[in-house]
Amino acid sequence: MKGNEAIAEAALRAGAEGYFCYPITPQSEVAEYLSRRMPELGRVFLQAESEVAVSNMLFGAASTGKRVFTTSSSPGISLMQEAISYMAGALLPVVIVNIMRGGPGLGGILPAQSDYFQATKGGGHGDYRVLVLAPSSIQEAVDLMMLAFHLADKYRNPIMMIGDGMIGQMMEPVEFPDDYKEPPLPPKDWAATGARGREPVIIKSLFLDPLLLEKNALIMHQKYEQMKREEIRFELYKINPKNKILIVAYGTMARICQTAIDELESEGTSVGLFRPITLFPFPEKDINKEAKKKNIRAVLTIEMSLAQMMEDVEKAVLGAKPVKFFGRTGGIVPSPDEVKEEVLKLIKEKTRSTGKTKQN
């Protein structure tokens, strides 16, 4: 199944009742798929006049308490930042998918990871974060998409799944769970359903009293701290005491690194991979633990962007080991050979510098 269609189908199976969209490459297949499927199921599909409208429709739609989502790509996600900030402030659950393309500006339409900062650091104005999930296969995109709706309801916060254009466009076999069950969630007593037999519900992000605004920000902050305790997800690949280098990479980039690691292994060089699955919350402590291991000479961050995630990796490693960067951007996907070359260069460098230290 094509990534974009698998994401759409996963959302349906997670109970999404409303989808709002605006066409943009490379994720338009999601809209095309849902334009047929949603009406078949008696659910809402609407192609809006702009991404600005899409995201504000999501605010209205999420206020009903029903599961709603959108998918877009980088420039469209930029346009949605206003409403994402409002939804975070109003404590609304919503799922947003960004199938990233090269930027900045209109950029290009080929796969990239250059919206890392925007996704993980808030994106819009104000003290807020969105929980960010980063799949590296179509199956994982399906699983995380379904999880995203659960997390949105659990935390009453926007959840973003980011994949590069490769995740949206490539085809892989996928399995959907036959009997999808979620842990119990609290009742949605905050939803606007009509003031019948109760006081009116007001859903807003406006608090002119600074004490109340701070209180709202602290409620959100506590949620982010809870996410750090409960939602960190990552995967380790070929981590063992013989590793000389620890690679940190996510999404499609991580898969390319796996190929490079396999080839290096067969050539006698041992390298491990740490793949963050949640980018916010970021698995800082776990990266730190791996980086501190005696056999690790350096940590190599590899991205399809220019040293964005590297800032979080540096913060995780806390100077315990040198943190190096390799990446391509603008829609260029590094090949396994480029990764291997970078790893071997780094090992040589570290061996030489260690040698020098000994001489001194």
């Binding site: 009742e17 409303g18 709002f20 809402v44 609407l46 809006a48 006049e49 702009s50 600005v52 409208a53 899409v54 504000n56 429709m57 999501l58 605010f59 209205g60 739609a61 999420a62 206020s63 009903t64 029903k66 709603v68 206003e82 409403a83 409002y86 109003a90 606007a192 359903t193 009509g194 003031a195 019948r196 037999g197 009116p200 519900v201 007001i202 859903i203 807003k204 992000s205 406006l206």
Partner: protein, 254 residues
């Protein structure tokens, strides 16, 4: 002796008994009351959703007693679209000023009207940005002095005021569009009829409905409340004629 007094006038249930933040002589209060009366009369308060704009009426939810959302500037029609599509059984209205609807939110209102979204918009036109302190709005009259048009609005520089009702009535999609004023009791009665009609069209799931309400802003116009009422009548109505511009089944009337 038996009490023979009967109540002939009371506060609508949909309107809270509260002191408002509106300036003396501002007609937002009149418009709020009309909306509340209609919600009561149609028996829809308990299934109503109001959407407040950014502007003086940002605190609408403090006065109208029903579920409310507070929208981003100009985006109330998108909020309303999203909500109503998921809950077509509810009665949804936006309440927006002219900076909100006619400037930053033109795209959202045009496309919501053009899709024929089944919600109601109450559009308050007072020819200035009120909350930010009386700056020029898209509805500011030619030559009108505001804090950002100190020499008067120059139509050669910034164009003519937008007639929102006429512009939306030009769309082919059926809708109910009427412009009213609230500067006199006679006009208030007519305004109430239009607002009532707008909500009935929604209740019957017929069409998008919008009532443009010419309104006063004595503070930012630099006038007393009574001068403001005279100015509205003498200056605004000639540029913004009152009446119905579009109604389902009566397309020729526009």
């Amino acid at each position: 002796m038996a009490d023979t007094r009967t109540s002939i006038f009371s506060r609508p249930e949909a309107l809270y008994d509260r002191v408002t933040h509106y300036c003396p002589g501002c007609t937002h209060g009149v418009a709020h009351r009309l909306v509340a009366e209609v919600l009561d009369e149609l028996g829809v308060r308990e299934k109503a959703l109001g959407i407040a704009p950014v502007g003086c009426s940002v605190f609408m939810y403090n006065y109208i007693n029903c579920d409310c959302l507070e929208a981003a500037h100009g985006r109330a029609p998108a909020f309303a679209t999203g909500f109503k599509r998921l809950r077509p059984d509810m009665i949804v209205f936006t309440y927006q000023g002219d900076g909100d609807l006619a400037s930053i939110g033109t795209n959202e209102i045009i496309h919501a009207a053009n899709r024929g979204e089944k919600f109601t918009t109450i559009f308050i036109n007072n020819a200035v940005y009120g909350m930010t302190g009386g700056q020029m709005a898209p509805t500011t009259l030619p030559g009108q002095v505001t804090t950002t048009s100190p020499m008067g609005r120059d139509v050669n520089d910034i164009g003519y005021p937008i007639r929102v009702a006429e512009m939306l009535a030009s769309l082919k999609t059926p809708s109910y569009i009427e412009r009213v004023s609230v500067h006199s009791p006679r006009h208030i009665i007519k305004a109430k009829q239009a607002i009532r009609k707008a909500f009935i069209y929604q209740k019957e799931n017929r069409c998008f409905s919008l009532v443009e309400v010419l309104s006063t802003c004595p503070t930012n116009w630099g006038k007393t409340p009574s001068e403001a009422i005279q100015w509205l009548e003498a200056q605004m109505i000639p540029y913004y004629p009152l009446g119905c511009f579009k109604e389902p089944g009566k397309e020729e009337e526009s």
